[in-house]
Symmetry: C2
Subunit: 253 residues, 2 copies
DNA sequence: TCCTCAATAGTTGTACTACAACTTAGGAGA
DNA sequence: TCTCCTAAGTTGTAGTACAACTATTGAGGA
């Protein structure tokens, strides 16, 4: 029997998180190379045939990965010419449409990220939470309130609510103390998609402690995260202190 | 000589704007079918072989289109099973990462959209404008200030600046009186990508007239639009009155 | 010398075929 | 009735061939 395709053996080494299809893995690896400034803005990346040789995969697989990167606005494919790095400076690191943890984004920008948990409790769902998580109000949820800091300065206050049905006791403890994304990843419940609303808010009621800005001005990200099978896993509001965190969106046709 | 592939003859009819590759056209057409609720949320769309037969294109082309829609968060492809409509309700209509004119979005949501021009002038570029548009400060720019209304109510104030080098006198007139996107489209200078920063702003200095909100609270979209060849064509700040316009972002891995 | 334009090599786009990997439903067997 | 296996159906990857487009080169003429 022929060797399984899914057990990858890239010439270019892959990180630990080798999940998803081959094309997804190639896409993730190429994205890292791009964000790592292997090529500078406007530069032409290797052709599809050469990339296929580098990764030891078919050209179809490379093309799938490249089209995905183009949709995300990272590269620019020109018929008959090649694929070029989109000129967006370093902003892609903070791209809002890429689903990643805030702390990880802060770290990748070269700062020290911390999460300070203010409260953590398991209780029954509120009406809005039940609606967002597609559960009944009788169901239990894990509600956590945290402040996110970069280099000791508060950049956001977050109010998150998890569906406990999807969690294990060990994961609940881990979420309360560290990154939620990492904890969910350990039980293969990593969200793959989120729907987010954005609002401008001015309020003195948000947040706590000395990290609260005098202006009371926040950018509110109200979002629901979904698993691959389409079921919601966590919902929450994150209040970003205006000016502390730059939000970038790449808009494409 | 064989018939040109680019002269399409879909079984499924295409709109007038038949631009881009075959896969792009199929993607746009499929997106319209999705937003038109041809399939309900969670439903399975036809398989790749059947879609290829419907559109009379190769399966490769269908796959390219479907992957693009998946990256945009409109569908959900599952290996060995099929592609399913992502359950995001009607929110996709106002998706922020889709590059389209505000007025068109308002109209598609079933409201009456208008643009009221307050001022329009050709002058030299400011420092920031020259930087954004990658031109010198000696170059001329078209600066326009407008209010955007939905059903007669102001939803946003916009301050836009165009690179006049890329425009014709006729287009300048057309931009001043109507939709910029439509005018740019007429000379094949339709932007295909934009980089946008989002900010929360509270100010009494923004906007004019009775449409100015008492709270002075805005969601600021500060963006630069790029052509296919990578050169910037227009930059501008749009101040959305908080609460009048719902911003949705689909976040994916 | 400079410009124009045709030839050409290189790259992406599409078509077609074949098979691997996965999902789902249905039937055989206990 | 339940479990497990089989089979059919679907997406994922491989490979080849050619069409369509881009960019470069260089020959020819003004």
């Amino acid at each position: 029997m022929r060797k399984k395709i899914t057990s990858i053996g890239f010439q270019k080494n892959l990180s630990k998180e080798t999940s998803g299809s081959l094309a997804d893995q190639v896409r993730d690896h190429l994205r890292k190379r791009i964000l790592n400034h292997e090529w500078q803005a406007g530069a032409k990346i290797p052709g599809e045939f050469e990339l296929a040789a580098q990764y030891k995969v078919a050209r179809v697989t490379i093309r799938t990965a490249l089209r995905s990167l183009e949709t995300q606005g990272l590269i620019d494919i020109r018929h008959g010419s090649g694929a070029y790095i989109a000129d967006f400076g370093d902003s892609v690191r903070a791209g809002l449409q890429e689903l990643r943890s805030i702390t990880q984004t802060i770290r990748e920008m070269g700062h020290k990220a911390e999460m300070i948990t203010r409260s953590s409790e398991v209780r029954k769902a509120t009406e809005k939470e039940a609606l967002d998580l597609q559960i009944t109000q009788e169901s239990g949820v894990l509600h956590i309130e945290r402040a996110i800091t970069a280099d000791g300065e508060v950049v956001a206050f977050s109010y998150d609510t998890f569906n406990v049905e999807e969690l294990t006791p060990a994961v609940i403890r881990r979420i309360s103390t560290g990154s939620a994304f990492a904890a969910l990843d350990s039980i293969r419940k990593h969200p793959v998609r989120a729907r987010a609303e954005i609002h401008a808010i001015s309020s003195k009621e948000i947040g706590w402690g000395r990290g609260r800005p005098p202006s009371g001005l926040y950018l509110l990200l109200r979002q629901v995260h979904y698993l691959r099978n389409g079921s919601p896993i966590v919902t929450g509001d994150t209040y970003f202190v205006e000016g502390k965190f730059q939000f970038i969106i790449h808009r494409t046709i």
